[in-house]
C-alpha cells in the first residue's frame, strides 16, 4: 500500500523562535495585529507500508533519526492512504 506521511516539526514550548519573532514584527509593521508567530516545517513523504500503523511507525523512525532534534523539536505525524 502507498501512504503519505505528513511530518510536521516545530519548536518545543519555551524555545525562542527567531524566525517566528522576526515574521511577527514584520506582520505588525504591515498593520496586522499578531500575537505570536511559530514557524514549523512540514515534510510530505510517500512511503510503502503494509498498514497505516506500519506507515506511522516508519515515519516516527524518520522523524527521530533525521527530521527532529529532541533537544528542541516536537513533531506530529499524519498518515493518509494514497489512492
Amino acid at each position: 500500500m502507498k501512504y503519505r506521511a505528513k511530518i510536521e516539526v516545530s519548536l518545543k514550548p519555551g524555545h525562542t523562535d527567531p524566525e517566528g519573532n522576526t515574521t511577527q514584527r514584520l506582520l505588525k509593521e504591515l498593520g496586522y495585529s499578531v500575537d505570536a508567530v511559530n514557524v514549523s516545517k512540514t515534510y510530505n513523504i510517500q512511503i510503502e507500508a503494509t498498514t497505516a500503523k506500519d506507515a506511522k511507525a516508519k515515519a516516527e523512525e524518520m522523524a527521530k533519526r533525521l527530521l527532529a532534534n529532541p533537544t528542541k523539536d516536537n513533531y506530529t505525524i499524519t498518515i493518509e492512504e494514497q489512492k
Binding site: P18, L66, T71
Partner: protein
C-alpha cells in the same frame, strides 16, 4: 611522533567550503594534511590510516533539515563502523563551525553517552536571526581536559572570527542547568564568548554573536579528544588575517587560532 609523520584527514562533502584553509593550517605546521570527500573514504575504507579527523566549516548539503544533520547521518550510515573504531581509539576529532554542528548531530558532542544515537544538544538558529560574520573574543575555560587547548592557560582571552547562521548552543530546556553542571564537573566546557577584557557576554549581542546558552562557543568530550567550536581558528592563523593588522606596530607571526592546532600537535607528539 614527528609532525611530518602525522596524517590529518579533512573530510568534505557537497557544501563544505572551509576545507582548503583548514588543510593549509595543518600544512603550515608541517603535518601531512589532505582533503578527502566522504565518498572517497567510504570507497577506500581507509579512515584508520589517519591520526586526526577534521570536519571543516561550510554549509554541508545546503544546511537542509538542520545544519550538519545530513552530513552526520550519511557519515553514520556509510562510515559508522570505521568512525566508531576511530573514536574508540581516542584519535582526535576536530569540528569547526559546520563541523561542530556535525559532531553534535552525530551524538559525539557533548558525548555524555558515547556516540549517542540521538543528539544531546543542538546548534539552533542564531538570535538575532541571520548569518553573523564577525571577530569575537573567547575565554578559555578548560582546566586541562581538552587536548586541543593544552597550550592555552585557563582564563586566557583569544580573538577568533565566527561566521554562521545556526550557532546557538542549546540543551533541552528541562535539563539545562543539570547538563551545564555536568559540563563543568567533567571539564567539557572549552570556550565561552566574552569581551576583550574577559567579561562574559551573558547573552548580550554582539559579544555573544548567536544567543548561545551560557555563552558557549566550544565544548569537548570527556576524553578531551573530540572538540567542536563555532569560531574558525583556521581564519585566525596568521598575523595578517587579523582585522587590525595595519594598525599594529608589532605583530607576532601567528594569530590566536594557531594555539588550537599547536595543542593537538603537542598531544600527538607525546602519544606515540
Amino acid at each position: 611522533m614527528k609532525p611530518e609523520e602525522i596524517r590529518v584527514c579533512v573530510m568534505r562533502v557537497g557544501g563544505t567550503n572551509c576545507d582548503a584553509e583548514t588543510e593549509r593550517a595543518f600544512r603550515e605546521l608541517g603535518v601531512q594534511a589532505e582533503t578527502r570527500h566522504l565518498n572517497e573514504l567510504v570507497k577506500r575504507k581507509n579512515l584508520m590510516d589517519y591520526h586526526v579527523l577534521v570536519f571543516p566549516g561550510g554549509f554541508s548539503y545546503g544546511d537542509y533539515v538542520r545544519a550538519g544533520v545530513i552530513f552526520a547521518r550519511r557519515l553514520y550510515a556509510k562510515l559508522g563502523k570505521e568512525l566508531r573504531a576511530f573514536v574508540e581509539d581516542n584519535r582526535p576529532i576536530l569540528g569547526i563551525c559546520n563541523g561542530f554542528q556535525v559532531l553534535v548531530e552525530e551524538g559525539l558532542l557533548p558525548g555524555f553517552e558515547p556516540m549517542s544515537a540521538y543528539p544531546e544538544a543542538s546548534l539552533a538558529a542564531n538570535i538575532p536571526q541571520g548569518y553573523n560574520c564577525r571577530w569575537v573574543y573567547l575565554k578559555h575555560e578548560s582546566k586541562g581536559n581538552c587536548i586541543f587547548t593544552s597550550r592555552i592557560p585557563q582564563g586566557k582571552v583569544l580573538r577568533i572570527p565566527v561566521a554562521h547562521s545556526e550557532g546557538r548552543f542549546l540543551f533541552p530546556k528541562e535539563q539545562e542547568q543539570q547538563l551545564l553542571e555536568r559540563l563543568y564537573e567533567e571539564d567539557l566546557l572549552v570556550f565561552r564568548y566574552c569581551d576583550e577584557h574577559g567579561n562574559y557576554a551573558e547573552g548580550r549581542y554582539p559579544t555573544n554573536p548567536n544567543g548561545s546558552f551560557h555563552d558557549i562557543a566550544g565544548i569537548c568530550n570527556s576524553q578531551g579528544t573530540i572538540f567542536g567550536l563555532m569560531p574558525h581558528p583556521e581564519r585566525a592563523l596568521y598575523w595578517w588575517q587579523q582585522p587590525d593588522w595595519t594598525r599594529q606596530t608589532q605583530m607576532p607571526q601567528y594569530a590566536d587560532g594557531k594555539l588550537v592546532f599547536d595543542g593537538l600537535l603537542d598531544y600527538l607528539a607525546k602519544k606515540h
